[in-house]
Structure formats: C-alpha cells, structure tokens
C-alpha cells in the first residue's frame, strides 16, 4: 500500500463521512460535521508527521511533499475554524440558515488535492491533483451563500477556471509530446538530453509557457488575475479565506514541480523565455495588485488585490530559482524563499479573514472600512490580532512577513536579479499605504454604529493562533526555515526512487517490426 498517501486517504474518508453526516435530518447531528472535519485534519496531520522521508528507494516521498502535507493540514484546521457555523444564521443574504455539511466535505476534498500536489510523479497525476483542488472550490463559491453576488462570483470563477485548465492541459500535451512519456523521471531525462545537445526545442518551451500561463489563474497572477476581486467579494468570507490560500499554494507547487523537471537550467536559447515570462509576470502582478488595492474601499476587494500582489512576490522568488549547491535561505535559495513565504502568507491572510468574520459587519463579515471604524476601542484583542497580521502583510520587522520578504529579496540579489529585488521593495512600500488605512480605520477613526460581533470561540481561537504564529515565526523562525530549506533540497526527480521499468511505456503497442526503428529514434531530437 502506498504509505505516503495515508494523509490524503484520511482526508478523503473524512470528506465522505462529512458528506453523509451532513445529510442527517437533525441540525444538531449535522453540526457534528465540524468536529469530524477537525478530527480528520488532526489525524492527517499526525500521519503526515509520522510519514518520514525515507532514505531508501522504496517510498519516494520528497521533503517538499512532506512540507506541503503538514502545511495543508495545519492551514486546513485554521480554515475549518474560520468556517465554523457557516452558513451564518444572522447573514441577511442567506435564504435559509440550515447548517450544511457539504461545505466542510468540499473543503476536505480540496485540501486532499493540495496535499497530493507535491507527491505526484506523473503529468496525469499532476492534472488530477490540480483539478481535485479546484472543482470543490467552484462549489464552495457558488453555494456558500444564497446571495446573487455569490452566484455571480461562482459563474466567473468556474468559467475562467475551465479556460485555465484547457490552457495548462495544452502545455501538458506538448510536454508529453516532447518527452514521449508522462512520467517525471523520463521527462527530466529528456530535458537533460536536450539541454546537453542542441538546447530545448520549441515544443518544450511552448509547453512550459502554456503551463505557467494556465496555472497563473490558480495563483491569481497577471494574465488571469482579474476574477480575483469579484470572486473574493462575492464568496462567503470563510470561503474567501480558503480561496486566498489553498488554490494559490496548489498553483505554486505545480509551477515548482514542472520547472523541477527542467532542472532549472533555463538560461540557454529559447528556454530563456521561461524565466523572462516569470519575471514579467512577477513585476506586473505585484505592481497591478498593489496599485489597484490602493483604490479599493471594500476590505475584501482590497485583500483580493493584496493576494494578487503577494503572488507577485512569490513569483519573484521563483525567478531567482534554486541555489542547487547550497539550498538554504541563508545562502539565498529561491525555492526555499517561495515555500517559506507561502506558509507565512497563509498564516497572516487566514488571520485577517478570521478577524473580519468575527467582526460580522452588515452581512457575513466586516467588508467596508466604515464597518471597522473605531473597533479598537471596544474590541481590543480582535483589533490587535488584525493589526499584527496586517503589519506582517506589510513586512514589518519582528513578523514572519518581514522574514519572507527578506529571503525573497536576498534570493533575487544572490541570483543576480537586482532590479527585481528593488521592485519588490518598492512594491512593499506601496502596499504599506492600504494596509495602514485599515489599521488607521480601526485605531484612529470614531465608530459610527454599535458593533455586533459573532460570539464564536472558534473564530476567536483561529484569529489569536494566527497572530501568535505571526509573532512566533517572526522571532523564532528556525523551525520554518529548516522545514522549507529541507523541502527545497533534493527537488529534482531522481531516477533511483521512481525509475520506470525498462520499456514499460512502449511494451503495449510495439510490434517486433517497429521496435528497431523506435530504438533509432531519439525522442526529443526529432521534434
């Protein structure tokens, strides 16, 4: 049995249990779904911790896969706490306030897909894992709230999602055509052969570019980012916090996994187009995200553009690429910086959304700047948690967001992308303006209306945990640095662990007559 898939198996079984339990006639029974989800996530987290990184060639779980499993389960617990009690009975946009179990089942399925992302060793698996992450999120957006805005968000999210799937599948088909196999080891070998001889053929470069463009939808990066504000605003707020982390993490892991196949050796000939595209996307994504965020008054839209901008920062880390010799943040490794920032971004953005949901506002969360004006005088702790997470999003020293940005800038400098590093720093300064507007609204402005807060221990707990983690990892980041440093080491698909059996691919259709000709043909060179 595939021991490395135990966390995903636990998550999927829990999802099925949640789906069945959610059909119960009594509301009190249906509410058990939340506890079942929490227990399932905790069990998957324990299993993920238990599944070691085996040194032998039998089980081939990579350190990145282990990191992503732990990150998935930990963030999943926070996201379930964020969605506790959803749909909220006091949401006027809600046509019925009956508790729905399927919300949690969909979240669990999507999390199982995210956890699977880095464990795949085949293009088909990568496609299935990406779809496992996205399809439940379409349901979550469209059905999370009985409001017209939510269905508008659902339809936009779904149709653009289908488009992006088609685009990256087109890239996958060319990568398969280039290598003659969907197995990662075989593709990696084909890339090595091509790089050793004539440089990458166009079919491989086009494949890589299409994959990156298609995945840019999942990470809300520039060519396909414009759905983000509408979808983030229209979706129920716990779902928005889910969207801001889970599909984004899946998209970045997909980009890392696909570029690992090339061995990150992309400086020659036509392959140059790949880092060039990443760099252009990084600059446009963070600049457009930050500039448009400045113009927003709705906090959820502002955070949507902020999420776009943060994707730009992580792309800037990917442009730097791995430092294949040292592989540690201290030496400026781009992959380490990217996965470190992913975890940091997850913590701080989930924290902000937890506080927004706690404050309730007019609908299901505080959406407008007026909704949170002067909140600090009455709800000190909530305002403090929010301010800590926002300071981390800005990148203030002492928070985890500062370290994340520091590592990205360092990786860009070490790899010789000084201009990109400077653009990241300028963007961080622009971003401070709109985050500080939220902080100023909470602490300086007078309150308009009497505040209503959601008396939900789960939300209070989630917000407090996120703020505590932001500070903790900001002061003592060793654990996170080591984990992310490990996950960036040993990233290339190694032949020892997953060697396909000889001729396994061609055995099915080859007849004796064609075999000699096939041997004569080198897979990549004829393209």
């Amino acid at each position: 049995m595939a021991i490395e898939l135990i966390p995903e198996i636990i998550l999927l079984i829990t999802a099925v249990a949640a789906l069945l339990l959610g059909l119960a006639a009594r509301d009190s029974v249906r509410r058990l779904v939340q506890w079942v989800s929490l227990i399932g996530l905790a069990a998957a987290l324990a299993a993920g911790l238990g599944v070691g990184v085996p040194a032998d060639a039998m089980g081939h779980i990579s350190p990145l896969a282990k990191y992503m499993t732990l990150l998935t389960c930990a963030s999943g617990i926070l996201l379930v706490l964020n969605a506790w009690g959803m749909p909220f009975g006091n949401d006027p946009a809600q046509c019925d306030s009956h508790f729905r179990g399927e919300t949690f089942a969909m979240m669990l399925v999507s999390l199982a897909g995210l956890s699977m992302m880095a464990k795949v060793d085949n293009l088909i698996w990568l496609f299935l894992a990406l779809e496992l992450v996205s399809i439940p999120t379409y349901v979550l957006v469209a059905a999370g709230r009985g409001q017209i805005a939510s269905q508008e968000a659902g339809v936009k999210y779904f149709f653009l999602g289908a488009l992006s799937v088609a685009i990256f599948l087109f890239g996958f088909s060319y990568l398969y055509g280039f290598a003659g196999s969907t197995n990662f080891v075989a593709i990696h070998r084909a890339f090595l052969v091509a790089q050793g001889t004539s440089g990458l053929p166009f079919v491989a470069v086009i494949g890589l570019l299409m994959v990156i463009l298609g995945v840019s939808y999942k990470i809300a990066a520039v060519p396909l980012h414009y759905y983000a504000p509408d979808v983030y605003q229209g979706a129920a707020t716990p779902v928005t916090s889910f969207l801001s982390f889970v599909p984004k993490a899946a998209g970045f892991v997909a980009i890392i996994v696909v570029l690992n196949l090339t061995g990150w050796n992309l400086s020659r000939g036509a392959a140059n187009a790949v880092p060039a595209l990443l760099a252009v996307m990084a600059v446009l994504t963070m600049t457009i995200g930050n500039v448009f965020a400045l113009l927003q008054r709705n906090i959820k839209r502002m955070l949507a553009y902020s999420s776009v901008a943060h994707s730009g920062y992580i792309l800037a880390a990917l442009v730097a690429g791995p430092d294949l010799i040292h592989t540690h943040v201290i030496t400026g490794d781009g992959i380490t910086a990217a996965v470190f920032y992913l975890a940091a971004y997850g913590i701080m953005t989930i924290g902000v959304f937890a506080v927004l949901t706690y404050l309730q506002g007019k609908t299901d969360a505080a959406e407008d700047l007026d909704d949170i004006a002067g909140i600090a005088s009455e709800h000190r702790l909530a305002a403090a948690c929010m301010a800590i997470c926002l300071f981390s999003l800005i990148g203030m020293p002492g928070t985890v967001g500062f370290l994340g940005k520091l590592f990205i800038v360092q990786a860009d400098f070490v790899s010789g992308h000084e201009v990109l590093a400077v653009i990241v720093v300028i963007n961080a300064a622009i971003a401070a303006a709109y985050y500080l507007r939220i902080v100023a609204a909470m602490y300086i402005r007078e309150s308009w209306t009497p505040f209503v807060v959601r008396k939900s221990p789960a939300l209070q707990f989630a917000g407090a945990i996120c703020a505590a983690l932001v500070i903790f990892f900001g002061i003592a980041p060793t654990l996170l640095i080591n984990r992310s440093g490990d996950s960036a080491s040993n990233i290339l698909p190694t032949a020892s662990a997953q060697m396909p059996k000889p001729a396994a691919h061609s055995a099915v259709v080859i007849t004796p007559k064609s075999a000699p000709k096939l041997m004569a043909r080198t897979r990549a060179a004829t393209m």
Partner: protein
C-alpha cells in the same frame, strides 16, 4: 505498426491548435453561458487530439490514458456547469453572461 512521419504529426498538431484557438475565440466572444462552456469543451478536444497524435507518434499509451482521465474530468466539470446554469437561470431567467456583472471596481 508503421511509424508516424513528422509531417503527419504536424497535421494533427495543427488540427489540435486550430480547435484550441476556435474554442478560445468562442470563449471570448460568446455571451450565452452554455455556448461559453461548449467553447471550453472544444479547447479540451483540441488538447485530446494533441495527446492522441503524440501517443501514436511515440508508440506508447501514456497519451491515450491521459485522454481518458481528461474526458472524465471534463464530464465532472460539465455536470457542475449545468448545475450552475440551472441555478442562475432560476434566478434571472436569462443565460446572458452580461446579466451577471454587478460587482465592479
């Protein structure tokens, strides 16, 4: 089994690319939700033709198995699309995508 020549492969790839482009143009220009969804299905079929042509060219079954998975995922997406279309039609009695653009900014 005869090997496929490069010229034959390029014809199939051209067909795949043309189908993909037709789908993309349809996605951009159509306003009816069902037609938009059909456009994405046409793009999927372009990808499927690519995969099958490459599978025949390399004489292995990876591409064909990829197509089977692709079709099942496309079916899952189609069921979701139809559910969404029914939900939206009940709300507004129209399938025009422009009727669903309240959020701006």
């Amino acid at each position: 089994m005869e090997l496929m020549t490069n010229a034959a492969l390029y014809q199939y790839l051209a067909l795949g690319a043309v189908l993909f482009t037709i789908g993309l143009v349809g996605f951009m220009s159509r306003r009816n939700m069902i037609m938009i969804f059909l456009s994405t299905e046409i793009m999927f079929q372009g990808v499927a033709i690519n995969l099958i042509a490459f599978a025949r060219y390399h004489l292995n079954a990876d591409g064909q198995s990829f197509v089977i998975f692709l079709l099942s995922v496309a079916a899952a997406e189609a069921s979701l699309a139809l559910a969404l279309v029914v939900l939206l039609y009940r709300r507004r009695q129209t399938l025009n995508i422009d009727a669903w653009s309240e959020m701006q900014g």
